[in-house]
Symmetry: D2
């Protein structure tokens, strides 16, 4: 499934914990709710049959006690889906389940296949039919095709050979819970241990919620099979990886550890780096809540400028409708954010945000601070300018909509009305994340992508994709 | 209506803005959503008839575009209701509307009448009947009784003479929007100006959301009538007031100004005061989110101990159910809060919270930090020990449940497992709020109440209640 | 409450059957569902408190097992409400409950108070307030007023002195279940015995459903109190009554016995009478289903013309929407009714219907038969022409809409396109019902009403209303 | 899809009526609502894309004006599904839609494939995957497989060669609406003409509702393609057919014409035949409503015993729950049926029902009449004893549950408590239907099936199935 999503897998010893998989998945999905609020789903097995339930809305809204109790099993997977701008349809809920000659397959997917239309055509040419327009169904069909002639490991390997794009998958085949991460490791996936079993999750915070222990990340190109112990198969090995830097900057929870790096620490260091790269005199440093909070704390620590809340977020406003009453035109932003006047009146404010996409929201926030009496508003951004679209699963915007694709930093500064604007440097960001530049996907920042995208530049990193070495 | 609630009133010039009252109320109620998530209601008038709609849930969930569009009028009131532990029934939604000889009355109430059973008996003795068990219906009936023989101002005054307790009321009589605050000023209520009209709201943040301007607080004992201008009637005047100190400590939004004090500033000063009153060596200061955040920032500023987030709050978990699986027993707290390990491992942590009621949550949070590796956990509380129940509208707990009613500070410290525990001093809190001790209600902290409560001690302050001076 | 409605009361011996009242009411209301499908409600008492639940929709849709189980009590009342053309609002659901000095009152009402605005003004003048616009609230308030100074019997009598109009009431005061019927006996109400208790119901079919036994009708002007036995108070006695003839013709179930007459028998005789009064040669006699069925059987028996179904009713079509597609204009009637071609093609058809109100439906049905090939269509109506509106609780139409108020029988015949049209004679109908003409309300047929209606003629019957004799 | 269902197809000239297909389907499905109340679905095409919507509940409950308006197209199909005892799941709603190499296919199915597990295995062996457990998905996959190498007509023919069982299909491929009926013609399907287009429907009553004209039945083994005209392909031709006799006895609407026979006429003749085959003296003849009504009229006409309603059906009771209160044990039947006492007291009653499956309901109804005072109760059944299960799509019961599979007529008579019991003779039924015995499926009556069922006897009729002649 495209876009930011969350996946979970749970496998208990069938003797010890016959029924609890769904409950653990339920809690883990709530811990991953920030990765997707559109729909939620759980599929479990009791060893003889697959039980599945999914629906629109938050995990805790959709899954009642009754629904959960019907999902008795010792192994299972779960999914939360992000609401994209386009169609939010019940059919797109996951896990996606199919039956095939050998039994049942359920798949939960975080990522985006770049070549899914090509693969779909190939499968259709064999006479296969499709029920949805999702890339996850394509993966399911490819897996089913391979599973007829291969064992599970071979089948996954054969399918992976053909998949181009980002995918962190949690798969339930029979009563095996399988975790797969694409060879470049775009999207996170980690393994945890809980009492009596193992867990897979998009983020380690979900394992903490289950009172479990983070074992390690699933490696790029690795397939793990949860059973009484964890079996590991390093199916593909690239010289370098392509971890999405946006997980650290914006998506993941600050309390999650992703590919060995605590997100909180990265964001804190982003703040420190911004303070160091562009020293600025000011009275307070303040975040755009919530994503800018940790970096603003880091900036304050790095600069000794006091941390203060210039903006208060209304946590109850999700959906609302704005009617075209002249005086209420700016209501949308004021419903979500309000200024703390005494913190900004006559003050020089350093405002920390994670990124600028279209620039509209930034302009409105700067305007809000300006009306609140701020003397100077210095906007500092925790990521370099976004100049190119994401093809690997983030529904950010088209190139036309990306303000930094068309305007210089000075141009953006003018447009959003800031006293000054500074984006963290690419090296600064890489340094804050703490892994080699070569192991990050920064296509949206550089326009050079780790895999071939028609019409876009491509680094030679992914060329090694096919020189895999199976363990 | 008992408990924390939010009220709104809007009055436009009928010539200029015939239909927009409900839309403004809708946005203002969303700004007050933190004061009550159980139910929401709006009543408006178009000059000839009263239109009313109310239902369970969040403002933005219940009020669809269709519902709002049916509420065309130029004057109206709104209410959000807090979910109490007991019965959450549709019938208790507000505004409460009645017809009487002279027309219609709609009332939205924040507060709690202490003598409402006595008043109800008196009204029943006259043969009156009641449809609900709410104190708001009692107020409505008393008003209706007086309105038959008096003009509106006299009627409100006569009714207020009999009301004992806390009440901030917004009333719609005909097309007049009236604001009333009890003579001791327990609950907040303020006046704002918007383009083409006036607004009443529990908190000034609601006025900000409407792009309006805070005019002033409604004074204790004052009645204001919104029309083409604001008419004011100082019906009762006490030597001292009894503002609820918990609005500053916990209830209100930090960006609201209540009785002239910005809540953010009070909370920040509470943090500074805690740092000064009880200096403690530590590596970080961290809040229990969200209510402890501003005080923790203040503590950091006051102590130069770095501010850091030891706990991350999952903002998507509202309702969830916890099943009795042994290993998941502590799931409830872990679903809401997770530790940021690197911030606490081996660290001495100062943890800021607003208050301790039963002590259970504090114990769980301390335990969470302890397991996360914190070396020392110094708990600092932004309010003095709560030793006595609230009779004025806060559904906190019975005296039996209040841990500080039975245990010394040392006893509570032991029970919650903290390395040390310190509550702000009463004088420290009063100083942080910045108004004379005599003007605050601190019954729950001292056991001495500003009005007579059977079986409780009473300060002589409220004795002046009857020596009112009408303007 | 205005219009066709159904009421139920159940009283068990508290020792023997503490909890089952709601369940019996639930089944009885389903038996009365034809009298109202808009909303349903139940109020019961367990001896110490009143429990009440009501909502929109069918009895079996609204009342789940969970809802019923919460209504544990040994005495209670129930109501189903008919959907009027105007506002179908949750607030209008019954039973209507109030508390007053002496306790609680719940009322379920079938009928229509003619003087309710006048009574409401009088009550408002005393300073009373109202929550709804219903005449049932007026009755509740009047009762509460009297109950303060009188015992129940006196209170009901005093209230009844003032009520003008039709009312069959079932009232729960404390744990007493009371049945009241207006002095003219417009609307039905009967008493039944079930194992361990007594029942009140609008129709005897509800008693059959409970496997109970019909004891007798409540007499006009009588009040009965269900307890360990049935207490009876003949509060008012008129020389004549005013039973609504439409209950026999259309409203009631054919298996109900109302005021001693089995509805099936009346309708059968109406058919026989039509055959006798207006002998017609034809090939088949057919009803407009469902209300014409029994009379058509009677016509067939009386005339020896074979009974056949010319029209089949689709029982699943309740609500539907008709879009203005030219070819589908007549869809509304065709969705509900379809012809059985072989029964009508080239045939002379006698079509039996209960009444003609606006004439539109009759015109469409005749047209349907005509297109189906019927050679002759002789329409026979089981009631005389309706020439005047009903003020006593039937939401039939205004005088302007009543076709027979403006057209002769020939004129109506022409308009609906029938080969011939014949209405039963007034005497024929009276004879079929089997009670003296003086004991029936036939205001809508004669324009002469049994009570004073401003602007309408009035028979001297009701003049005796005030010469009541209390037992 | 298994069991009694209803299917519809509509095709307009795209130039003349671009958007109305869904509206026509909506009305036609309501006319077929008696064939399935569990779920409803509509799929249409506007020439470029397929729009589909389906959900649980009645057609008029699920399809709001908004839902319908989104389904703008000039060709489409619809389905209503019957609620089987087992799982009523949203996933089983139809039309079932898939995409394949050549485009989209939507299928609505009435019937039951006997060999669908075998076909599914074969498809799975080719590596295909399945999303549901329905036989309709099997048909869709087989069609898609053939459509890759064949044109539509060839593809349907190739698929039909493999399908064993009952199937009346309405298929939307691209913008072609196709009707297919299995070579034995088990389930009905007919063609109609409406203004500007053509219609397919399970029953002709749906065509009447659309103000259309019945053209003819789709022949067994025929495929029709609706376009600007009707193309017909007689793909298979058997010497004999196997029309389900239960459509005439029970399922279909009496106003429908199925395979040239008006259902009303068949049922009327069943009644006449019962009167002739087993002459009985009695006072009245009465139906078990609704399915026995027409036969009871026929019996009355044939015997000159007066037709009367002994039982009144409550049309509002669909779902209800029965609690184990001793006195209410028989409530379920009494909620649905009540006796008209005067019609049965002391009377000899002939009671007409369509069939006896388990015998439980018959026993309860006879008991009801007995308690109502009937002197003699002569039960007459419009179908011969059911001694064997249905494998062709009727979810009647297992052989163990079928009372006539284990008991003689005398035995059943005793069990249900009737004075006498008579089933129509097989020849009598065949004669009433009016087609050769060889053209009817009477497997449930004889135990001899027209197709091979493992473990059951088989007539040689179906052997000709493969000697088809394509036109």
């Amino acid at each position: 499934m495209r876009d930011k999503c969350g996946v979970v897998g749970v496998r208990f010893d069938a003797e010890k914990n016959r029924d609890a998989a769904a409950l653990y998945i339920y809690y883990a999905l709530q811990a991953l709710q920030h990765r997707g609020q559109e729909s939620a789903g759980i599929a479990v097995t009791n060893g003889s049959c697959l039980l599945s339930d999914k629906g629109m809305g938050l995990v805790s809204d959709y899954f009642s006690r009754e629904r959960l109790q019907k999902l008795a099993g010792y192994a299972g997977i779960g999914h939360v889906r992000y609401s994209t701008t386009g169609g939010s349809r019940p059919e797109n809920s996951q896990p996606y389940t199919v039956t095939y000659k050998g039994g049942t397959i359920a798949i939960a997917h975080n990522g985006n296949l770049v070549n899914y239309r090509e693969l779909k055509k190939e499968l259709e040419a064999e006479g296969r039919v499709f029920n949805s327009d999702s890339d996850t169904e394509v993966i399911a069909q490819m897996l089913a095709r391979e599973l007829i002639r291969n064992d599970i490991v071979e089948a996954v390997k054969e399918a992976m050979k053909r998949l181009v794009g980002s995918y962190s998958l949690v798969i339930l085949i029979g009563d095996k819970v399988i975790g797969v991460r694409d060879p470049l490791g775009f999207k996170p996936l980690c393994i945890g241990r809980v009492d009596g079993g193992y867990v897979l999750a998009s983020e380690s915070a979900a394992i903490d919620t289950l009172n479990g222990e983070l074992v390690r990340d699933v490696a790029p190109g690795e397939m793990v099979v949860l059973g009484d112990k964890i079996e590991s198969y390093r199916l593909f090995r690239c010289k370098n990886h392509a971890h999405c830097m946006f997980e650290y900057v914006y998506f993941a929870r600050p309390d999650s550890i992703i590919d060995g790096r605590l997100v909180y620490k990265v964001r804190h260091k982003i703040g420190e780096t911004l303070a160091r790269e562009c020293p600025t005199e000011a009275d307070i440093v303040s975040p755009v809540p919530d994503s800018g909070i940790t970096s603003a704390i880091g900036y304050s620590n790095g600069s000794s400028i006091p941390y203060a809340e210039a903006l208060i977020k209304n946590r109850y406003v999700n959906r609302t409708f704005i009617m075209p009453v002249q005086e209420l035109r700016e209501t949308a932003v004021r419903l979500k954010l309000n200024t703390v006047r005494s913190n900004i009146e006559g003050k020089r404010v350093i405002l920390i945000d994670d990124s600028i996409v279209r620039g509209t929201t930034s302009r409105r926030i700067v305007d809000l601070l300006r009306r609140g009496g701020a003397r100077e508003i210095h906007v500092r951004i925790g990521s370099p300018p976004i100049i190119s679209p994401c093809y690997l699963g983030i529904d950010m915007a088209t190139r036309e909509e990306l303000i930094a694709a068309h305007k210089s930093v000075k141009g953006v500064e003018f447009l959003i009305g800031a006293t000054s604007l500074y984006y963290i440097s690419l090296d600064g960001l890489v340094d804050a994340i703490g892994m080699p530049k070569e192991d990050l996907c920064m296509g949206c920042l550089t326009g050079v992508y780790p895999i071939e995208i028609p019409g876009e530049k491509c680094e030679d990193k992914q060329m090694k994709l096919n020189h895999f070495v199976s363990e």
